[in-house]
């Protein structure tokens, strides 16, 4: 990753990230509505929502919440830029967890009991998905010999062929990361299963808009993770990656609409079990199939 490629990726991600994220959310809302027998909002509704939020009077319980949220946004953008510039995958992971931490602090900072419950649940979510994300980086290295995401370009075959079970593990925790049922514990887009508004209870106007935009960036970044498994000889395979990414997003929407929220114990233990099983078997697979020797 050179400074130039990072600069280009940063610029592209800053501009395209929210656009794609907004489109994804818009499509999500329409598809979800159709699944529920409704017509649904216009495609650009998420954009209108954010626009409206930004136009509202700035009211916030304290002046620090805004700082934490902006910083969380900046960290998400940075990690996305590193990811798409072909940078170090562990760096991406660590910046994303910084972003999650800042989001949690932003919720705690209000001293709202409801937001604190949401923040506590967000922490449990991090506990659930973080091992898989870190191990994904580890296996990425084992398979490609490098931590740079750009290494997939010279791999000669798709990463998913080497690490099918890691892909399954990623799909499992993706539901948490994309904030979809059954794992949308900290805050949900489904009003019927929400305790007030979870972690965002005390976020409004400008701050809530920042949260929404961060979520757009994050969704694109994590679909990028999915795509990473299908890129091996760009540029043609990039199309495949995008198609798979969209398919996975559709799958997540289906899951989102088919399950009710589960208890945190269930989410935590199953995420860890899936992580352990997928990673342990992947190791065996790497050894057995590709004679991989450390």
């Amino acid at each position: 990753m050179t400074l130039l490629s990072f600069g280009v990726a940063l610029l592209a991600f800053v501009v395209l990230g929210p656009v794609l994220g907004c489109f994804l959310t818009g499509a999500d809302r329409i598809i979800t509505a159709r699944m529920q027998g409704r017509v649904g909002p216009p495609f650009l509704q998420p954009y209108y929502d954010v626009q409206k939020l930004l136009a509202k009077e700035r009211r916030s319980l304290n002046s620090f919440q805004g700082y934490y949220l902006i910083l969380a946004l900046v960290m998400t953008v940075l990690s996305g830029a590193f990811f798409f510039a072909g940078g170090n995958i562990l760096l991406v992971v660590f910046l994303i967890s910084l972003s999650s931490l800042l989001f949690v602090i932003a919720a705690y900072s209000t001293r709202s009991p409801y937001a604190e419950i949401g923040a506590g649940r967000e922490i449990i979510q991090v506990l659930a998905y973080e091992p898989m994300i870190i191990l994904l980086g580890v296996f990425f290295y084992l398979a490609t010999g490098s931590f740079d995401t750009s290494a997939v370009a010279t791999l000669g075959l798709p990463l998913v062929a080497l690490l099918p079970l890691i892909f399954v593990g990623l799909l499992f925790i993706l539901t948490i990361k994309l904030r979809k049922s059954p794992f949308d514990l900290s805050f949900s887009h489904h009003a019927h299963q929400e305790l007030v508004k979870g972690i965002t209870t005390e976020m409004s106007g400008h701050n809530l808009a920042v949260v929404e935009i961060t979520h757009w960036y994050e969704s694109v970044l994590f679909l990028g993770y999915v795509g990473l498994f299908f890129v091996w000889a760009p540029p043609l395979t990039l199309v495949l990656a995008v198609v798979v990414g969209l398919a996975v997003y559709f799958l997540e929407i289906v899951i989102d609409n088919s399950f009710a929220r589960v208890k945190w114990q269930y989410m935590l233990s199953w995420s860890w079990i899936v992580t352990l099983v997928c990673c342990a078997l992947s190791m065996v697979l790497l050894f057995a199939l590709y004679g991989f020797v450390v």
Binding site: R58, R59, S60, L61, N62, S63, F64, G66, Y67, I70, L71, V74, M75, L78, N88, L90, L91, F94, L95, S97, L98, L101, V104, I105, A107, Y108, S109, T110, R111, S112, P113, Y114, A115, E116, I117, A119, G120, I123, I124, V126, L127, A128, E130, P131, I134, L135, V138, Y141, L142, F147, V196, T201, E202, W272, L276, C279, M283, V294
Partner: protein
């Protein structure tokens, strides 16, 4: 050489002076002057080493060996005396045995041995020197303020007891209340002197003496309060550490006898690399692990928090436990894929995982810190066990940043405890409004413990990379799950500390100026260290690895390159700058807070109290506790199985070690 001698002698003289001049004013002047001198000496030594000369300093020393032996025996006698008074048979036995073995070692083996290098300096001892002088010194200054209010609290409580009028209780109260602060500070400085001696000694018998002095100092400091609990816990600490010392002495005797004839640390490491030593290395590792409070010995460190907070800060950050990991890091080149290496690595990894999980269930701030110390030291121990230059890089980085962050955190918690009257994390709610600077320092310390772009995370990242490269797949799982658990510990506490109630109703609590100055100093240091991550690596850590490689003729070490690459370290530094810059912007353009109240499913009455009127117009308080997940991570659920597991692993490895010693392949 003179500087090294001064580093050891200055604190000793200060300790004596502190015992003589007992007035408060004199103490403040003495402590500040001594700390300033020590820090200056540490920097002079560093500058001289980095810019002018490098290598080993030599001393000729028939006489000094007697002094060192004498000190060692005094230590044993002191513990014997205390053990007899408290009728603690185990302590008596261990101290007696230790004394006898020390005599046997000195006169049976070591006294006439040809030792070419008694005292040395390298980058690792420089790092340790700076840590001891700067954080240790900072803690001493902090203690000036802290012990003042500690004594006031004591006298307040004591007068309460005295009022009851019962003669036995009055006598007890007077005993507890008596101002013994001069002893306290003298001990702190002796502790520092012992640490300096420990990081410069090449002659193993001197190293052992310094080792024993730290044991005794910690024993005396933990028991400082003289309550029943303090005495009990101090004996628990001394028993564990004496068994470590005993293992150390046994290892020395084994090394001196037989065919090896080793009396020097550098020769020992050299021989260790050759792979001929098994049991002595394991015994030394055992000693290191007891001192570093690795599971199953973590109990003594947790018990140590009965002592005044500066003691905990000192034990956890710059002394004591760091002595344990220092020894293991020194020995790292001889670890790796061998029995001692695997022993160290597995014990460290399991301690890391076990104590991280246990920390989640704690609501007592000091216990969280204690468990987190054991966990992080476990990671250092584990990295030392891996024994590659990359892993050692991670271990040294962990050591540096852990010292900085933990010292700050302990001191913050101590101050908070005095002002909140509790060390419970739940009580720290809204501390940001009451003591904004304290809360900010605490938050900085916490973030430095676990999240990007701070040093601990960078070190963990390096540990991860070095584990992958050495093929320790099982440990990658430990690290991945351990990191996630770490996030939980700190995130929920950080949330509590950074919670802002009403900003306009700021109640400033008066904190002693000495405490504030040292806290600010430590926080500033931590910020500087984080910004300077790439330089810490370039100036200190990498040269140590190279030099170790050259001296020991280990080609991989001599060519060690940065695990994460300079650019990744730079990125971390830049990310931190971004955070700071945005913070400045935030502070400059702070908007006036609104009068909104939080949503409480009713009519809000007070944001401060979180009270509201419910549907029946009754005043209700909303309460909310953090998550402690006790059924998963509680001491009740985890402590026994983990202790049993680790004891079994240890026993197994020692059996292996003995077998390997008896039947060399």
């Amino acid at each position: 050489m003179l500087v090294i001698a001064a580093l050891i002698i200055v604190p000793l003289i200060t300790a004596l002076l502190l015992l003589v001049f007992r007035s408060n004013r004199a103490r403040v002047v003495l402590v500040i002057a001594a700390v300033a001198l020590l820090v200056a000496l540490a920097f002079v030594l560093t500058a001289r080493y980095l810019f002018f000369s490098s290598g080993f300093a030599v001393a000729q020393s028939g006489f000094l060996s007697y002094v060192m032996l004498g000190i060692d025996l005094v230590c044993c006698l002191y513990i014997l005396y205390r053990g007899i008074r408290a009728t603690n048979y185990l302590a008596i036995f261990l101290a007696g045995l230790q004394g006898v073995l020390a005599l046997v070692y000195e006169f049976g083996f070591s006294h006439n041995a040809a030792v070419s290098i008694d005292v040395y300096v390298d980058e690792l001892s420089l790092i340790m020197t700076l840590i001891i002088a700067v954080t240790g010194g900072g803690i001493c200054i902090y203690a000036l303020g802290y012990m003042q209010s500690y004594q006031e609290h004591l006298e307040h409580e004591g007068s309460g007891l005295a009022v009851s009028g019962e003669p036995s209780r009055v006598a007890e109260a007077l005993r507890l209340v008596r101002d013994r602060r001069h002893i306290f500070f003298a001990l702190m400085f002796v502790f520092l002197a012992a640490m300096f001696a420990l990081v410069f000694s090449n002659r193993l018998s001197w190293l052992l003496t310094a080792w024993e002095v730290t044991t005794v100092c910690s024993f005396a400091l933990i028991g400082y309060a003289r309550t029943e609990e303090a005495t009990k816990n101090s004996f628990r600490a001394v028993v564990v550490n004496l068994s470590g010392g005993l293992a150390f002495t046994l290892a020395l005797i084994m090394l001196a006898g037989g065919g090896t004839q080793l009396f020097e640390l550098d020769k020992l490491i050299e021989a260790g690399v050759g792979g001929t030593l098994v049991l002595p290395l394991m015994l030394l590792a055992f000693a290191g692990m007891t001192k570093a409070a690795q599971m199953p010995f973590q109990g003594w460190l947790l018990g140590a928090m009965v002592a005044p907070t500066p003691v905990s800060a000192l034990l956890h950050s710059s002394t004591m436990v760091k002595a344990g990991v220092f020894l293991l890091i020194k020995l790292a080149p001889s670890f790796g894929w061998n029995i001692p290496g695997l022993f160290v690595l597995i014990m460290g990894a399991l301690s890391f995982l076990g104590c991280t999980a246990l920390a989640i269930s704690q609501s007592n701030a000091k216990r969280v810190l204690a468990y987190s110390t054991v966990a992080n030291l476990g990671l250092i121990v584990c990295c030392a066990g891996v024994g590659t230059p990359e892993a050692t890089w991670a271990a040294i980085f962990l050591l540096i940043f852990h010292a900085g962050a933990k010292a700050l955190l302990f001191c913050c918690v101590g101050t908070a405890e005095h002002h909140l009257g509790s060390r419970n994390i739940e009580r720290m709610d809204n501390i940001f409004v009451r003591m904004p600077w304290l809360a900010s320092c605490m938050a900085l310390g916490m973030m430095a413990m676990f999240i990007a772009p701070f040093g601990m995370l960078v070190s963990k990242w390096a540990a991860l990379v070095s584990l992958i490269e050495t093929g320790h797949m099982e440990l990658l799982f430990v690290l991945a799950f351990g990191s996630a658990l770490t996030f939980v510990i700190w995130a929920k506490w950080l949330g509590k500390v950074l919670a802002v109630g009403r900003e306009d109703e700021r109640i400033s609590t008066r904190v002693s100026r000495l405490e504030m100055v040292s806290l600010a100093g430590m926080a500033f240091l931590l910020i500087a260290l984080t910004l300077g991550i790439p330089y810490v690596s370039e100036l200190f850590v990498m040269p140590y690895l190279w030099e170790t490689g050259l001296v020991l003729q280990l080609p991989i070490w001599a060519q060690a390159s940065e695990v994460l690459g300079y650019d990744n370290l730079m990125i971390m530094s830049i990310v931190f700058m971004v955070m700071l810059a945005l913070l400045v912007v935030q502070i400059l353009r702070r908007r006036p807070p609104s009068n909104d109240t939080v949503y409480l499913a009713g009519v809000g009455a007070s944001s401060e109290e979180r009270s509201y009127y419910n549907a029946f117009s009754e005043l209700r308080d909303a309460t909310q506790r953090n998550w402690y997940l006790e059924q998963f991570f509680g001491e009740g659920a985890l402590l026994r199985p983990v202790t049993i597991l680790l004891s079994a692993v240890m026993a197994l490895f020692f059996i292996l070690g003995i077998v390997a010693e008896l039947m060399p392949l």
